[in-house]
Every structure is written in C-alpha cells, then in structure tokens.
C-alpha cells in the first residue's frame, strides 16, 4: 500500500480502490503517565468497513487509546499506521485531514454555535482538499443523524442526546475512513440509545466508514460489532467475535472478579 494511493483514494472519495483489509494499525503502543502505564504494549488492527468495539472496566485505558490514536497524546513508544502510512506524532488536525475523526466522552460541541455551524466546522476544515458545497454536505449529515429540523438551534440549548448525535454528524462530515466513538451512549435513556444505535448503523452503511467504538453498554456493543477488543489495566486481554468474548474467562474475570473455588 503506497502513499500516493491512499491520498488519491481519499481525494476521489471512493474507498473501493483501497487495497488490503487493515486500514488502521497500532503497533505496540505504550503510554505512561508518571509511573502509571495507561497503555502497555497495545497492538491491534482495524479492518475496512468493520465496527470494532472497545470495552473494559473504568480506567482500563480506553480513552487514552483514543487520545493517542488522534494524536492528542503522543505515545512513549510504538507506531500508528493509517492506510500503511505512519501517522505517529502528526498534529491532531492533520490526523483529521488524513481521515480519522472522533467524538468525545463529554460531548464537546461548540456550545455558542448553532447545530449547523457546528457541522460546518467539520465540513470546512475537516477535509483536505477543502470541499465545496459545504452547506449541502452539512445538511446531509444532519439529516442522517435526524437533526435536520434542529439545524438552527444553539447547541447549548440542545439535549445531551442531540449533542451526541451532533458530534457524530460533525465527525462524519469530514469524510473519514475511521470514526472513533467515545461512549456515544453515556447518559442516554433507552429510547435515545435505540436512536443512537440506528444512527451508528446507518452511518456505517451509508458512508462506508470503519468504526472503533468505546462503550459501557455491553448489550448495545454486542449487537452491532463485528469484533471486540477488551482492555484491562492498559493491556489487551482479549480480542475476537462478540460470541467468543462473552465466553472468554479473562473477560468475565475482569468484569466480575475471579470465581471463588
């Protein structure tokens, strides 16, 4: 997979000519905070058009992994590849231009802007070369997440659910290869969760985007993911299909503790 190919594939916005299944790779990533190893020698791949779940108890390093993947943190060692290109140490905005977009655990929308303006930021700045018809792109993704009627509402007056949907829209509008969702369902009620699940599924299908998804709502993640990665104390303890993960002893131990014999 050479460099030119990856660039052109993004420019034409046709992801079909991207060869190889692994579009994103993390190779033995380690990240320390003082004496704490938040991530310890983590390696995994993301495959094209796959939804991958990332689960683990609180403090397992899931959000740190996201921040390393989007260059908000620099890893102490290890490398990250997107379409075969080394992206370790690039600036966060460059990472976005190259095709990784994300949402945040604490819905980071631009509160003083309207919903449409929020998405316009992603439409105008999230993509290189800069797209034309940004307004049309923005309205399309707002429609996709079901916020088209709320496009003129100031974000600070929106519900948490709508703000999370808006973040997904803003991430999608930059035409990413990979979308990282950091607990998109945290704090949502069952009907809102249903809506969010529907939106994620729709985004995945209509936009051909691979998704890496951190979630505590295990039933939601098991219903939609092709593959699941489990972290505990900064280490990868399991990886596989949802059925396998549900049976995995390490995972059960991590969540429920060791059985007393």
């Amino acid at each position: 997979m050479n460099k030119n190919e990856s660039q052109y594939s993004k420019k034409n916005n046709s992801k079909k000519d991207v060869t190889g299944d692994d579009i994103f790779q993390m190779k033995s990533i380690t990240k320390r905070f003082g004496g704490l190893k938040a991530l310890n020698d983590i390696s995994f791949n993301l495959k094209k058009n796959e939804i991958t779940g990332l689960i683990g108890p609180n403090g397992a390093g899931k959000s740190t992994l996201f921040n390393v993947a989007t260059s908000i943190y620099k890893p102490d060692s290890g490398k990250i590849f997107l379409m075969g290109e080394n992206i370790t140490g690039k600036r966060p905005h460059q990472i976005c231009w190259m095709g990784i977009s994300r949402t945040f655990q604490l819905a980071k929308t631009f509160l003083s802007m309207t919903a449409l303006e929020n998405v316009l930021v992603g439409a105008i700045y999230g993509h290189k070369p800069r797209a034309r018809n940004v307004r049309q792109h923005a309205m399309e993704v707002l429609e996709l997440v079901g916020l088209e009627t709320k496009s003129d509402i100031i974000t600070s007056q929106m519900t948490l659910s709508d703000r999370r949907l808006l973040e997904v829209a803003r991430a999608l509008v930059s035409q990413p290869f990979i979308m990282l969702l950091d607990e998109p369902m945290a704090g949502l009620n069952p009907s809102e969760i249903k809506k969010m699940l529907h939106v994620i599924e729709k985004a995945h299908k209509e936009r051909n985007v691979s998704i890496l998804w951190v979630e505590h709502k295990v039933e939601a993640i098991f219903s939609l993911c092709n593959r699941i990665i489990v972290l505990e104390y900064g280490q990868k303890i399991a990886e596989g299909k949802p059925e396998e993960i549900a049976q995995n002893n390490n995972v059960i131990e991590a969540y429920l503790g060791k059985p007393s014999s």
Binding site: I72, R91, H93, C96, F110, S112, M113, E117, V121, A171
Partner: protein, 334 residues
C-alpha cells in the same frame, strides 16, 4: 420572516452609515482645534480600535492577551525612530505601515512561542511580560530609544487636529471592516470553535495554532497603527507614556463591559466608559477614579457578560418596560 430579517440588516447598515456620516461631518460644525467633543471622539476611536483588536484574540478566539500595550508602544517607537532618522516624515503612510507591521511581526514571533506552549491564564501572564520586556529594553536602549527621557519629536510639524481626527476615524473604520469580514467568514467560524473547545477544534481539522497567531497578529497590527498615531499626537515617545498598562487595561475594560465576543460590544463599551470617565472628571475632578471604578463594578455586577449580551437577552423585556412606561405616562396625561 426572511424579508423582516433582511430589513433589519438593512436598517443596521443604514444606521451605521448615518453614524459614520455624522462623525465625518463633526469637524465641519465644530472648531476642532478647541472642541472638547472632537478630542473626546478622537480618543474614543483609538480605544475602540485597540479594544476591537483585543476582542478578536480574546473575545472571539478566547486567548486573553494582556500585551496590547506592547504593540501600541512598539508602533509608537517605530514611528518616532524612523522619523528621527529621516526615513519617514510627519503623517507618513509608510510610518503607519511600518509600525503596524512591526507590531504584527512581534505578535507573530511571540505568538509562535506563547500560543503553542501556554494555555489560559499562563498565556495572559506571558503576554503581560512582552510589555515589560519592551519597557526595559526602551529604558536601556541608549541613544537608540533615549532611555527614560524618551524621544522628543519635532512638534512644529503640527498641522491641525483634523488630521488626527480623520486618521483615527479611518483606522477605526478599517479595523471594524476587517473584523466584521473576518468574523463572518470561515476564519471567524474557526476562531469561535477554538474559543469554545480547543481540543474539539483541532480534532475537527482546524490548525489551531495558525488561527490563534492570525487573530493575535491582526489585533497587534491595528494596535500598532494606534501607537503610531499617538506618537504623532504627543510628539514625545517615552516608556511611561506609550508602554503604560493603561493601553491594555482600559481597552480590555471597555471590551468586557460592552461584551467580549460581540461586534458591537467594544464600540458600545468604549463610548459608555469614555463618557463615564469624562463626566465624572468634569463633575467631581478630585475623586473621579472612585466613581469610574464604582460604575465599572456596578455594570459588571448587573450585566456580567457585558452590555451587548444583556441587550440581546433582554430585548423583549426592555421593549415591554419601555412600552409600559410610555403607556403609564400617557395615562397620567389623560
């Protein structure tokens, strides 16, 4: 609805135009050499310009700079030194350009260092240092800056107050136009995004540092222009005068009072505060800073986000009260 909105925008432009025409015509009806009103407008224009420059970096982009007096002072010194050296003359456009550009370059250089490394309060403290560094440099500059005594310029070159008045008006209008165009463009969207959430802004593809430096530099440029004009006005450029903290504190106060992050805020704030300063200094010259201070405290107490936000948030309430008062008054008459 759309037509109504368009009409509203239309009336805004017309109102702005009328005010500008009024300012342009003022010197024709008043004796500008003697009129206090002309002098008042001249200083207010300068304050509006500096406040609007600060508004761009602090109000819109969220990076609270306290270094505007450094850019003001640098502009003044560049004008004075080039004039003394014979490179530029009295009211030389080249001097204005050099002063503005000098301030812009200083902001860009300092910005690369400070804006990339320091966040929030630390950035403010860092910028406060720029002014201090310049002040010490000017004091110890030997014959180049003439130390504490400062550079005295040839005051016989003075022509008329109208020159100053119209130049200040022009610089202010230039600044307002630049800022309104910036804010309504895509650049404005990026700046506000940075203010609202820097991490989210960069994760959405905005090269944060570049836009911060852009806003900082443009603010510095217009402040440098004001410094240059001030050098021509005072004919004496010395550290306590042009590098005084007043050149940052007063415009910042005006901007916050009017509403930082709004276009009308700094304009309104500058007028309100200038009027408050002038009135108190006329009525109670001995204790006027106390009253100005009390006034500032009261306004911030009752309108914590500035006059502009208060007006936009309470528009219907204000209108209702107005109508009620008029109604009562008419009833009394009847």
């Amino acid at each position: 609805m759309l037509r109504l909105n368009q009409m509203k925008v239309h009336t805004k432009y017309i109102a702005g135009l009328i005010v500008v025409i009024f300012f342009v015509l003022c010197p024709l009806f008043l004796n500008s050499e003697r009129s206090y009103f002309i002098y008042f407008l001249y200083t207010t224009f300068i304050y509006i310009t500096i406040a609007q420059g600060w508004n761009l970096i602090a109000g819109y982009t969220g990076q609270v700079s306290l270094g505007q007096h450094a850019f003001f002072g640098l502009g003044a010194y560049i004008t004075a030194i080039t004039w003394r050296a014979g490179l530029t003359g009295y009211f030389d456009p080249l001097a204005f350009l050099l002063s503005g550009t000098g301030a812009l370059l200083l902001a860009a250089i300092v910005g690369v260092v400070l804006l990339s490394k320091l966040r929030d309060d630390y950035f403010s403290l860092g910028t406060l240092g720029i002014g201090e560094i310049l002040r010490v440099a000017a004091l110890n500059g030997g014959s180049f800056t003439e130390g504490a005594a400062g550079i005295s310029l040839n005051s016989t070159a003075y022509k008329s107050m109208n020159h100053y008045y119209y130049t200040a008006l022009f610089i202010m209008l230039f600044t307002l136009v630049v800022i309104v165009l910036l804010i309504r463009s895509r650049v404005g969207l990026a700046l506000i995004a940075i203010r609202e959430d820097e991490t989210a802004a960069s994760a959405n593809g905005i090269p944060v540092l570049r836009y911060k430096i852009l806003a900082f530099s443009i603010g510095a440029f217009v402040t440098g222009l004001c410094g240059s004009l001030n050098a021509y006005y005072i004919f004496h450029v010395h550290p306590p005068g042009v590098l005084s903290l007043n050149w940052v504190v007063i415009p910042v106060l005006m901007c916050i009072l009017g509403g930082a992050g709004t276009f009308m805020g700094p304009i309104l704030g500058a007028f309100v505060l200038s009027i408050a300063f002038e009135l108190t200094s006329i009525w109670m010259p001995e204790i006027h800073p106390i009253f100005s201070g009390a006034f500032i405290v009261l306004v911030t107490l009752f309108m914590p986000s500035g006059i502009m936000y208060y007006i936009t948030n309470h528009k219907s309430m204000i209108m209702r009260r107005l109508r009620l008062t008029v109604f009562k008054w008419m009833n009394q008459k009847a």
